[in-house]
């Protein structure tokens, strides 16, 4: 899956389901400080990512994912990985 598509799908669910403000969705936006995503929101994002991208986020892999750009990268890696957890 191309990165542009990942960005499109991710931004769409962040706005529609997590209700993040679209104008704040930049690559360097901090997930926690700029987008206000907390630990409870991450549980919901886990569910949405499984539905949209077909893999389950592993909490331990998210430790360094602090910006939106890093999140796009993480999804891209998981979705396009041969050994990924894609269904």
């Amino acid at each position: 899956m191309k990165r542009e598509e990942i960005i499109r799908i991710t931004n769409e669910f962040l706005v529609e389901e997590i209700e993040a403000l679209p104008e704040l969705l930049t690559e360097d936006a901090s997930l926690k400080d700029d987008l206000g995503i907390d630990s409870l929101d991450f549980v919901d994002i886990f569910v949405i990512v499984e539905r949209k991208f077909g893999f389950k986020i592993k909490a331990e892999e998210m430790a360094d994912v602090t910006t939106l750009g890093a999140f796009y990268d993480y999804i891209e890696k998981k979705v396009n990985s041969d050994n990924g957890d894609a269904k």
Binding site: I18, E19, D38, L40, D41, V43, D44, F46, V47, E50, K56
Partner: protein
């Protein structure tokens, strides 16, 4: 001891979603009962229920607040928002003053079942999402409302079956009377979805008068064949009188008595002795006699035994005064955990507007209801003081006495 007054009311029910709408329905004897076809598919014996649509909260509260709310919490939010507005209590007041909450709720079936179904399918608990636990607990309503409204006083759900709403008001009254809180949000909420009433339907307790849904709930009538489940939410703001006057609040009515008891006998059948004790305790607490009660809002749910026992106990206490009685459950159905609170609102509206709402469908008395004065047509009457009964599974009984405020 301090005086406890009602300064705000809010309702989300099958006979109206505003005080005005509910007043009109009560006056017209309008039924909110209908058929939920999902119940046929689900395997219910009776598809009858109070008909209520889900409120839309998306533009009212943010996603995080909405995520933890189960259906009954949504109803409770709507009723509480309106009650606070009615009491002229805004977020600024809530942030600066300690306000408590006692709210009646005794189930959250849909939330539990839906979460279970997800895990059973996906074999992964995280797939339930972040809201599941907050929606599933019995204390879901108070848990969520205390966050949404920034409440910092007593914070507790009262689970007492069909007396939950009434006991929540009784406890709010006691806390204010004893000086432990100045303002308490009280109420009751009841989910109305298809999952919530299946185990109750299993007892064969529901009316099957499906040909005439509006006539199915017929408390005290000889030909009653069971109750009709219903729900929604009702909220009342209780306040210390001096505190209410100081902030310029409008006084709606005064809570003057609370009585309680437990039957200690059958888990599902009420008893006349227990209800008698609760009513007498309420009268003693209010310092008034049976002659001072102008109207009784009965618990009567349209069950053969329950209505009989209540008729017996009302007759024992009030028979000599021929005190007017009606059960608004004839119109609303049995609002269960909500009913003790909603029926205070219904009766207070009657008291404000000088009428008794009819016990509709009371066409033929039985030998017990023949002995009490059941009002089956809307009757203009000045009510200064009313008594409201609520009785629940496990024999829990609650009685509240409300009076027009007299400074």
């Amino acid at each position: 001891m301090r005086r406890v007054v009602i300064t705000g009311m809010g309702i989300y029910s099958c006979i109206g979603k505003s005080l005005e709408e509910v007043s009109e329905s009560l006056y017209l004897g309008k039924s909110g009962i209908g058929i939920d076809p999902l119940r046929y598919d689900f395997g219910y014996r009776s598809p009858l229920t109070g008909i209520l649509e889900r409120p839309m909260l998306k533009n009212l509260i943010d996603r995080r607040m909405r995520t933890g709310l189960a259906e009954e919490g949504e109803y409770a939010y709507m009723a509480t928002k309106d009650a606070l507005e009615h009491a002229k209590i805004d977020m600024d007041f809530l942030e600066k003053n300690e306000v408590g909450i006692f709210y009646g709720n005794d189930s959250s079936a849909k939330a539990v079942i839906e979460a279970h179904n997800i895990v059973a399918e996906k074999k992964d608990t995280m797939m339930m999402g972040s809201g599941a636990i907050f929606q599933s607990m019995n204390s879901t309503v108070t848990m969520n409302l205390s966050v949404i409204f920034k409440l910092r006083g007593i914070n507790m759900t009262i689970s007492a079956a069909c007396a939950s709403g009434s006991h929540s008001l009784g406890l709010g009254y006691l806390f204010i009377k004893n000086g432990w809180q100045d303002t308490v949000i009280c109420g009751g909420a009841q989910e109305t979805n298809v999952y919530s009433m299946g185990s109750f339907d299993a007892l064969n307790a529901f009316s099957v008068r499906t040909a005439e849904p509006h006539k199915a709930s017929r408390p005290f009538d000889l030909n009653r064949d069971g109750l009709v489940p219903s729900g929604g939410a009702a909220t009342l703001i209780l306040e210390d009188y001096e505190h209410a006057v100081k902030r310029g609040a409008k006084i709606i009515a005064e809570v003057i008595g609370y009585g309680f008891s437990s039957n200690g006998s059958h888990i599902s059948q009420p008893a006349d002795e227990g209800s008698f004790i609760a009513m007498q305790r309420a009268l003693d607490d209010a310092g008034i006699g049976t002659k001072d009660i102008d109207y009784i809002n009965a618990h009567a749910t349209s069950t053969p035994l329950g209505d009989m026992y209540e008729a017996m106990s009302i007759n024992s206490l009030f028979g000599k005064h021929n005190t007017p009685v009606s059960s608004t459950k004839s119109m609303t159905g049995h609002e269960c955990w909500m009913s003790g609170a909603s029926e205070i609102i219904y009766s207070t509206l009657m008291m404000q507007k000088n009428f008794i709402a009819p016990n509709i469908n009371f066409e033929t008395p039985d030998e017990y209801s023949a002995k009490i004065n059941i009002i089956n047509k809307t009757t203009e009457k000045k009510i200064d003081t009313f008594l409201s009964n609520s009785f629940g599974f496990g024999g829990t009984n609650s009685a509240l006495i409300i009076r027009k405020f007299n400074s």
